[in-house]
Amino acid sequence: MIVETAGLTKRYGENTVLSGLDLKVAEGSVLALLGPNGAGKTTTIRILSTLTRPDEGSARIAGFDVVRSPAAVRGVISLTGQYAAVDEEQTGRENLLMIARLRRFRRSAARVRTSELLERFQLPDVADRRVRTYSGGLRRRLDLAMSLVARPRLLFLDEPTTGLDPVSRTTMWDAVGDLVREGVTIFLTTQYLEEADRLADRIVVLDNGNVVADGTADALKNSVGGARLDLTFPSCEDAARAHVLVGGVTDGPTVSVPSDGSATHLHRVLDDLLTAGVRPDRVSTHRPTLDDVFTTLTGAAA
């Protein structure tokens, strides 16, 4: 286990931000910490990356205690925080060179490593411009590149794609995928369920400092039930008649029926309706998404 926490608790005054968090992350895996605003995601990452001390409980990174051996922990990890940690008045290249020097690369090795990273994150064109002039996506990419100057065993990514357009987001996901293939363990937080679905081996849902779910994306989806069929009719009267025939729940002109997602079930439902002369306009199957999981578990408004 590269990350192991036991009873991790953090309070700010009266506000208990984390209450007894127990987490285990296997080396080489990707964990996504999911939760609404204020759930304690950033606080968890700050404790694990030695920036904040827990009030109670313990956390070990690669066997080193975050409070007692912060220096050893820092040798293992790299952090890309929620807000880009880059120097606005330095160029992208200068930012990377600086980190390389701080990571004790020799001057020439630092230059080589910087060029490699600029290349890898498609930044060469803007490398010599001040970061102040970068777009959000460029800045985020540079931020990640800076975290990878020395290859970490464990990488923390706090909301890596918040505010990015779909293209930049995909680029970021690809970069994370490459890291996983290289064997880097990823601990990320996100508000986007699609992101967790796509990247994570395991998802932990946090709400008010408590773990409310822990498992693979599929396991979480199954926990809130199976697929359903949405049938939309030309009028509410039709929908009411259909409701009598096939059950489920109505919402205006739409009737939702629980389903196993199979063609056979769809066929049977349509047969029943057409036989009775009720014709739906539209039919769609709906598989539960992590959004449903999220809404169900955290009680957040959809």
Partner: protein
């Protein structure tokens, strides 16, 4: 050592690129000197050569601008994620402050040279020996170093760049209540008491005595003030910086 040098390089580069900072710490003191020499100087008849009189005061005023900019630079860094990044790396993140203080001293050296050069153009003719120059600059250096560590510590605890700059205003105000611009003997008695007993006055008096070749009447008071401040301010900055990781 590489870490400290890298972070010093960073701070110096950031200073050079911050136009406001360059103007505030270098152009402004030169303008202030022109203002005092040409606008107020004519009215001050209590001293023989006003330009000779006022240069030490301007040099100390410079340190105030420098100090204020250090507090702002540090507060700015603390507010961004940059310091968090450094603190999550296996380096002594405290070197961030060392970088800012070194850049501050460097900015001050440039400002001091600019002021002295401008003063020479305005008729500054100090009869000081080279040794006296070295002593005067050495004293200023210790004073600037002490002040910079103090303001760096303030920058760490300041919640924002704005509150950090408030501290600078305070530092800028002190020289006006000293013998920097007019002899203390021209002030009302109550103000004279304040002025004679605040730390800036002995520093100015000593630098002035050294540069004008008159006897140093305040003795060890100025180096003692500056050295003492340094001895307190440096560990204070270290302590404050370490403390933020307890939160």
């Amino acid at each position: 050592m590489t870490v400290t040098l890298t972070l010093v390089g960073r701070s110096v580069r950031l200073s050079r690129r911050n136009l406001d900072l360059v103007i505030m710490s270098i152009v402004l003191p030169v303008m202030m000197m022109a203002l005092f020499v040409y606008v107020f100087g004519g009215a001050v008849t209590a001293v023989e050569s006003y330009v000779n009189y006022v240069v030490p005061g301007i040099l100390v005023l410079c340190t105030g601008y420098g100090a204020s900019s250090t507090a702002m630079a540090v507060a700015d860094d603390m507010g961004r994620g940059v310091v968090d990044r450094f603190r999550s790396m296996p380096i002594s993140a405290f070197a961030v402050l060392t970088g800012h203080v070194t850049a501050s001293v460097a900015r001050n050296a440039v400002a001091t040279s600019a002021v002295v050069f401008a003063a020479l153009l305005m008729g500054f003719r100090p009869p000081a020996s080279p040794v006296a120059w070295v002593l005067a600059m050495g004293l200023l250096l210790i004073y600037v170093l002490a002040l910079s560590w103090l303001t760096a510590g303030f920058g760490v605890v300041a919640r924002s760049v704005e509150s950090a700059s408030m501290f600078g205003f305070f530092m800028l105000f002190l020289p006006y209540l000293s013998s920097a611009f007019v002899p203390v003997s021209t002030m009302p008695p109550w103000l004279r008491v304040v002025s004679e007993h605040q730390p800036v006055t002995p520093v100015i008096e000593t630098v002035r005595a050294l540069l004008t070749g008159s006897p140093v009447t305040s003795g060890w008071l100025a180096p003692a003030w500056s050295g003492g401040l340094l001895v307190v301010a440096f560990p204070l900055a270290v302590w404050l910086f370490r403390r933020i990781s307890q939160r």
